[in-house]
Symmetry: C2
Subunit: 412 residues, 2 copies
């Protein structure tokens, strides 16, 4: 890709969309905190700036964790090839980081002339890199394997497909634009040639919220408002719950996070056969606006002791919300940041659809694991879902200028 090409692309964007700030707003506004979406707090007020939102590649944390959910997602896991060792892995992470940095700024990556993302602007692209347990064995880095990366326990309701679980390396791609996300996947896969090959790949989507000033909580494919109780960056203990502390262990994971991935198929035909009242009882929230059945609005704290006029618990004993809140799990909390998925129909005619569940936490043993243990033993929702794939990745902190993701692991 020549400079000439970039110029044409920019000109096409500016000329046609007609926004003087189309690239300026986004590309000038780097350096914000923590790899979050740096322009979303101050959304543009002009519809002509579609695609102009950029997320910073450098920062304390990697992008795609605190960043608001995007409309299009690509998840891809790789295994290192037999010929690849630590040196080749380091070179791959260097290539990947360079490509991610350029694409997140809306620029074509080195050596790519595909043009699929031309004109799109950054489109809130985020690229998040993680390391699976196998990576450490394959690269002779067992001594730096985090304790937190020990295999997740088995849950009674799991029906896991090994071919779509695990992986030595993982990339989470998100963008407001499906072509930008597809392009990033293609570029990063090409960069892996000879060093790592795709183990599994999944595509997901969310409601397109664009640059709405206060994004609504997303709905999932069950129609349920999903994510109300998520920790918020403004919470006092947000960093403590989601990120490894600066002096955490191992040191290369400072400011990093652990991603638990679960492909959760929803048994939508069975779910939709339930009445609205039955569905609400399973979750413990009103479908219309996400308010707890104990009363109030979406953000009202759930009153677990409230009773209906008949004297029954307003929130049923096995309601999903009764089991998941932090105060029911010794303070456990994780930041859930999923995509929905829909891969057509299964052989029996049921939709192959559900949630690409992604949860971020400082430690899975105090985040995902205790919550899932409780859900596994008594959640009314479990009758309507199947966990079909699972993975756990160590996601190091964001790279500094001139650094590549994982450098502190691979070169220390």
């Amino acid at each position: 890709m020549t400079d000439d090409d970039t110029t044409f692309s920019r000109r096409r964007l500016l000329g046609t969309v007609g926004a003087a700030g189309a690239t300026g707003i986004a590309l000038g506004a780097t350096g914000g905190v923590a790899g979050a979406a740096v322009t979303r707090d101050d959304p543009p007020t002009d519809l002509a700036t579609v695609g102009s939102t950029a997320v910073a590649f450098h920062g304390r944390h990697q992008s795609g964790i605190v960043t608001p959910q995007q409309a299009a997602g690509q998840l891809v896991a790789f295994d290192l090839t037999p010929a690849a060792g630590r040196k080749e892995a380091a070179a791959l992470l260097r290539r990947w980081s360079r490509a991610a940095e350029r694409m997140m700024a809306g620029d074509p990556p080195d050596g790519d002339h595909s043009g699929v993302a031309l004109d799109a602007g950054p489109s809130s692209l985020t690229v998040t890199f993680g390391f699976g347990r196998g990576f450490f064995e394959r690269t002779g880095l067992e001594a730096r394997l985090p304790d937190a990366l020990r295999p997740l326990p088995e849950f009674s309701a799991d029906a896991l497909d090994e071919d779509r679980s695990g992986g030595d390396l993982w990339i989470q791609i998100g963008s407001d634009d499906g072509l930008v996300a597809f392009h990033a996947l293609r570029v990063l896969q090409r960069d892996a040639a000879g060093t790592a090959r795709v183990r599994w790949q999944m595509s997901g989507f969310n409601r397109s919220l664009g640059a709405t000033p206060e994004p609504m909580t997303q709905r999932n494919l069950m129609g349920q408002v999903d994510g109300t109780n998520n920790p918020k960056p403004s919470d006092e203990d947000f960093d403590k719950r989601v990120f490894v502390p600066a002096d955490g262990s191992p040191d290369w994971m400072a400011h990093g996070s652990y991603a638990v991935f679960r492909r959760i198929r929803m048994l939508l035909d069975s779910w939709d056969e339930q009445s609205r009242a039955e569905q609400e009882k399973v979750i413990g929230r009103r479908k219309s606006d996400g308010a707890p059945l104990s009363g109030g609005t979406e953000r009202t704290p759930v009153d677990m002791t409230a009773r209906t006029g008949d004297g029954d618990l307003a929130i049923a004993a096995d309601a999903h919300v009764r089991i998941t809140p932090p105060d029911a799990n010794q303070g456990a909390a994780m930041l859930r940041r999923p995509f929905s998925y829909h891969d057509g129909f299964l052989d029996d005619g049921a939709p192959d659809a559900g949630l690409l569940f992604i949860a971020w936490q400082a430690d899975p043993l105090t985040g995902f694991v205790p919550v899932q243990r409780r859900l596994d033993s008594g959640d009314a929702l479990s009758r309507f879902i199947r966990h079909e794939a699972s993975a756990l990745f160590a996601v190091p902190g964001g790279p500094g200028k001139g650094e590549y993701v994982g450098q502190r692991l691979l070169e220390a």
Copy 2:
């Protein structure tokens, strides 16, 4: 779904997004011409109106033809069940029309409490219904089978999968919001129970252009600007090329159109191995901005006789643009309105990705067929694509108030 629910949904939308006109702008602006997106000509200038764009269900033409391309698409074909005849088919079309009308207005359809599309607003939802050749045989309506619905000829490069081709009935769903499109698919599939079953289903996407005042021509997954030469509603002969005339034959197809569908897989690994110059030569257009290699900008007419400094034809003899323009095909023209698709990877590791090609024309025999015949015999692009599925549907005109789609066929 109770009224109560709708109220909550609206309130949540208005309260959170904070746009007084969020539903008002869209829902008040019906009655525009021809089923096109009635609010897109006058786009809202407030980002808070995400999802508020509504497309009219009633009109001269069905929606989803002239409507600007949306970000999310669902294509689904059905076959009538053995027990279903003309009466059951008419009842189904009545149910489908009623559901489409409500969902396109942003309202929950009758009997649906799934809530997946709550809060989303209309989100430019379009639902387009078509009839395949088999429908007429199954319903005893052979006498009304349009001549234009005769099977497409075979092309030498076809590698068609019958299971993903054809169908008695077809629905094209498009929306700016992936959840709204998914919800519409679920609702319409449920409405078909007992009368028709899914034959094939495919999901697609486009660049999200939101309500940009002058949408750019979309790019496809080859990175090529695709659709520059499309007929435009402002063209003098647009209606003549795209729609069956008011006094056309058969009479029930007045103001209707014929949709040719082709699932075209792109051999992206081979394509990306070509240099940019080679790719541009295959197409005949510059990748950066879509300008023809004979000079100018995207909209400049292609000069087929132009020569390079070396004396070669600027547009190669087998370039894609040389074969496709109307003046090379006895005036043939069709409105191409595709979605891209990406269904993961094939067994050999190649991406299962490409174009869900949908072309609209008054008559396939003067639209798609002659163009495809020429492409089949000499298009440089054919080395990089495979036609894997094919279908042809008669899409009747839009319903009047109180009418359902296809009523003039089923009840005349």
